[in-house]
């Protein structure tokens, strides 16, 4: 028996709003617009920090969700236009420290214990959703090292890497990449997805995510996966943030392009897609993205390259974001991108080493890939053994690490 019954889904779409002086509109002013949209559209539209958040109700079909997305955004654009305001549907803002997402809620889930076990089972797939939705290649001045700074920097602590849970000794924590969230509408929430710039893509993303999660709700393993799988999840999460759909994951120790994994995921949830009034063939944007390995971040890269100043980029980017079909146009014209190589052990060492300067606290290295203590300590031990770093300990500052000058890591 599937833990999701009846089968429902939705998305909480967070959208920044900007004025004609390129200011992000603050929470207090957004509350009024949320109130109007809430009343007119009969949807629980709210404000989440500096964004208008569009929770799109309880949906049972792709068409129903699409209609709500279209109707809601049409009305929001019309309402905001009266005040010379624009929606800014991006995963992150080029100047301001604001991230936005398109959380997907999958329902209906009443069994929280099963939800926690499902979280264990689905964590390895969370990076695939991150890669597919990557849409934050610029963020408060940072440019183009990652296709999703939002995922890389954990959405300023609003999405954290998840942990395997043993339901008898665990409690649900808010803010993980995905997990059960029964405190309001009883659903399983996938939070790792960046804010979509295309509303049609959002409908496809939400439907696919829901169908895939529901497809795994039949038989849920009671045992959490192994620590090795957990480590691969963390490595793949980082890789997805950097490479988007060009990522090659570690999958049981072997290279596996995320595009191939997504193909398998899409094929594997065909019955669930049909149950939601969709089909694999009915997701043309996602199919083209996976085939070409092109994500929304790839659309922003040429613009960001031409506008190296974040303020100027924010202005030009905002103009393009008014056009809901911008990404579809870009995707149609885009050439396929090549997959990047899987992250090797040496690459992982190098990424940890990059974060070590002089007097760097031990904990700063955890920012590399959020490794759990034994794995992080193993990386540190390797760096020490290779004479690439030196350690220093004082009671006041704890354990600090310093790069050994002249030592090279190839």
């Amino acid at each position: 028996m599937n833990v999701f019954s009846p089968r429902t889904f939705s998305t909480d779409w967070e959208l920044i709003v900007v004025d004609r002086l390129e200011r992000c509109v603050d929470t207090r002013r957004l509350l009024g617009f949320a109130g109007v949209l809430n009343a007119e559209l009969e949807l629980p539209i709210i404000v989440d920090k500096e964004s208008l958040e569009f929770p799109l109700g309880i949906n049972i079909s792709f068409d129903q969700l699409w209609e709500r997305i279209r109707r809601t955004t049409d009305r929001a654009v019309e309402l905001l236009r009266d005040y010379d305001l624009d929606l800014y549907p991006a995963g992150a803002h080029p100047v301001e420290k604001i991230d936005s997402s398109s959380h997907v809620h999958v329902g209906t889930l009443l069994d929280e214990t099963a939800g926690l076990r499902l979280e264990n089972a689905l964590l390895p797939y969370a990076p695939a959703f991150a890669a597919l939705a990557a849409n934050a290649p610029v963020s408060h001045g940072m440019y183009l090292e990652f296709k999703s700074y939002r995922v890389r920097y954990q959405a300023l602590d609003n999405i954290r890497p998840g942990m395997f849970h043993e339901p008898r000794t665990s409690q649900r924590e808010w803010g993980d990449d995905l997990g059960p969230k029964l405190n309001l509408a009883p659903t399983f929430e996938v939070r790792i997805i960046d804010c979509a710039s295309s509303r049609r893509l959002l409908a496809e993303l939400a439907t696919f995510t829901a169908a895939f999660v529901q497809s795994r709700g039949e038989e849920i393993d009671e045992e959490p996966p192994s620590p090795e799988i957990y480590l691969e999840y963390l490595i793949n999460r980082w890789t997805a943030a950097r490479d988007g759909l060009q990522a090659t994951f570690r999958w049981h120790g072997q290279p596996r392009p995320v595009a191939a994994l997504l193909e398998e995921m899409l094929d594997g949830c065909e019955p669930e897609l049909v149950a939601l009034g969709a089909s694999r063939a009915g997701l043309p944007i996602i199919n083209a993205m996976v085939r070409k390995r092109v994500c929304q971040a790839d659309m922003v890269i040429p613009l960001a390259t031409r506008y190296p100043d974040p303020y100027r980029l924010a202005c030009a980017y905002g103009k393009m974001l008014r056009h809901w079909e911008w990404f579809e146009e870009f995707l149609d014209a885009a050439r396929p991108l090549e997959p990047r190589p899987m992250l090797g052990d040496d690459d992982i060492l190098a990424e940890h080493l990059k974060l070590i300067g002089e007097g760097t606290h031990l904990y700063a290295t955890r920012d590399a890939m959020s490794f759990p203590p034994p794995s992080a300590d193993a990386v540190r031990a390797q760096l020490v053994a290779s004479s690439l770093i030196a350690e220093d300990f004082t009671l006041e500052r704890g354990l600090t690490l310093s790069r050994v000058p002249g030592a090279c890591h190839e």
């Binding site: 303020y311 007097g359 920012d367 004082t394």
Partner: protein, 517 residues
């Protein structure tokens, strides 16, 4: 006051295709980024046009939309009036070139004034700008007292060209395009203070090497002191210290027998006033800086409510922030150094947008050093050893910051909290647990003069060994006692035959010069 890192944000009035991917964008200036301050009055209502290349014209927007210029594009409209040379030395140049890059209508005449002498002139149109050449022989005699300023006025626009003495220390106010500054000069440095941010240091030039320690990246819109410069901060709450951005300072600058002095005062808000005193010594590469915060008033409960002593108290803490463009490489790069017990601690951040520190760890030797090995630049901050500050290292997108932060304290109305600092900057440095020093050179009529300024644990400072090219001097270190800061060791050595660009090596009090890794 406008800084050269600001840019115009305009509202588009029209976009015209000019062939291919080129478009002419017309706009009305709306504000100045990044702080969205008002545009200068001469730009209000003006319709301006720039050309843009855009593969997809949708990225430009349409009428009513925002449009952001680069700082370079903005400069001709923000600072239309320029004079060349901006700064000259020894005597007034024979000719001044005056230019008006843009004006909404045919410009009327301009005036040029030195002291009471004034001449009038008219612009001629050339290559789309208005230009004029002014002969200065009627403005100033050969014995004109220096420093002197030449004020060029056009309507309500005015800029000043300065004539500074060749070798004498001086302090002078300059109105240059984009910045109103107070420049302090001695043989070693030219230091530019600004009144904004509660009084801050915008530029710190080593005159002999022509290096600005606070040089900032060009072509980027940004807050002027964010990436480079010195500015103080304060805390009245739990959060990270606040900048003094809203405090506009007024004050005066004057010469004293052995130093140049600036005193600026202003209010941060209704209850907090601030003052900064800045002294540049004539004969040493050393700047003394003393900030005070005075609590004027503590908001109290209503008179009909119970009053306890705590109701008349607010917490206040002081902090300062030196920022430099960071060298970032794998193995080395910009770093902060300080002493901790018998350790020399080196702090070099690698992640951007971070502020790292340790509450438990206090810097008790009264110094912290910022070193940039690639460009041979270093700055030494000296402060009172007690109470010892916590040292924070900030890593911005392209900057490294040194942010000592002192413990907060309760203050009543009338209480004053002070932050005394001494600063020196130069081309070489040494540091170990026994102390730290910075060395630099200047050019004087007698040749090349080299100096070292040090903070030492030892009471007997010993000697400084200078080597410039092939010549060597060993000079006893002397002690200077600075109020609240304590003893600062220094030594000066002259090299009459020294080459200005010869390599300089110093060892002070037995502390060797640091070598790039």
């Amino acid at each position: 006051m406008i800084s050269p890192v600001e840019a115009i944000l305009g509202k588009i009035t029209g976009v015209a295709a000019r062939g291919g991917e080129r478009f002419g964008v017309s706009f009305v200036p709306a504000c100045l980024l990044p702080e969205r301050t008002a545009v200068p009055e001469w730009l209000r209502g003006a319709v301006l046009t720039v050309e843009r290349e855009a593969p997809d014209p949708r990225e430009l927007g349409g009428p009513g939309d925002s449009f952001v210029l680069t700082p370079e594009e903005s400069a001709r409209w923000l600072f239309p009036l320029t004079v060349s040379p901006e700064v000259s030395r020894g005597r007034l140049p024979e000719k001044l070139e005056i230019a008006l890059a843009w004006w909404p209508e045919a410009p009327a005449g301009f005036t040029v004034r030195v002291g009471r002498r004034k001449i009038e002139g008219a612009f001629a149109q050339r290559d789309g700008r208005y230009v004029a050449t002014v002969e200065t022989d009627r403005l100033c005699s050969a014995r004109c007292k220096l420093p002197a300023t030449v004020t060029v006025a056009f309507g309500r626009l005015a800029i000043r060209s300065a004539v500074l003495p060749e070798h004498e220390p001086c302090v002078v106010r300059l109105y240059l395009p984009g910045r109103e500054i107070i420049r302090l000069e001695n043989a070693w440095y030219g230091i530019d203070l600004v009144r904004r941010a509660g009084g801050a240091i915008l530029a710190w030039r080593e005159r002999a090497r022509g290096i600005d320690h606070f040089a900032r990246p060009e072509h980027r819109i940004g807050l002027p002191l964010e990436t480079a410069g010195h500015a103080d901060r304060f805390r009245t709450r739990w959060e990270t210290p606040e900048r003094l951005m809203k405090a506009v300072m007024s004050g005066q600058a004057w010469r004293e027998p052995c130093s140049s002095r600036v005193l600026l005062a202003g209010r941060i808000d209704k209850s907090l006033a601030t003052q900064v005193e800045c002294v540049l010594f004539d004969n040493l590469p050393l700047l003394f800086w003393r900030r005070t915060f005075e609590v004027r008033k503590v908001p109290r409960r209503k008179t009909n409510e119970l009053q306890e002593p705590i109701d008349g108290v607010r917490s206040i803490g002081v902090s300062t922030r030196g920022a430099w463009v960071a060298e970032r490489r794998g193995d080395t790069g910009s770093r902060l150094l300080c002493a901790y017990d018998d350790h020399l601690v080196s702090l070099r951040g690698t992640q951007v947008d971070r502020r790292d520190g340790c509450q438990e760890w206090r810097v008790e030797d009264g110094w912290a050093l910022a070193e940039h090995p690639d460009r041979r630049a270093c700055s030494l901050y000296l402060f009172p050893p007690h109470p010892a500050p916590t040292l924070y290292l900030g890593t911005g997108l392209s900057s490294i910051t040194l942010e000592p932060e002192w413990p907060m304290q309760p203050a009543r109305a009338g209480d004053v909290v002070t932050l005394p600092l001494a600063m020196t900057a130069g081309e070489c440095c040494g540091a170990d647990p026994a102390g730290a020093w910075v060395g630099c050179r200047c050019l004087v009529p007698e040749g090349v003069r080299c100096a070292v300024v040090a903070r030492l644990r030892a009471e007997e400072p010993g000697t400084a060994l200078f080597r410039l090219g092939g010549e060597q001097r060993e000079v006893p270190l002397q002690l200077l006692s600075l109020p609240e800061i304590g003893a600062v060791a220094w030594a000066v050595a002259d090299f009459p035959a020294g080459r200005p660009d010869a390599p300089l090596e110093i060892a002070a009090a037995g502390i060797p010069q640091r070598r790039p890794a």
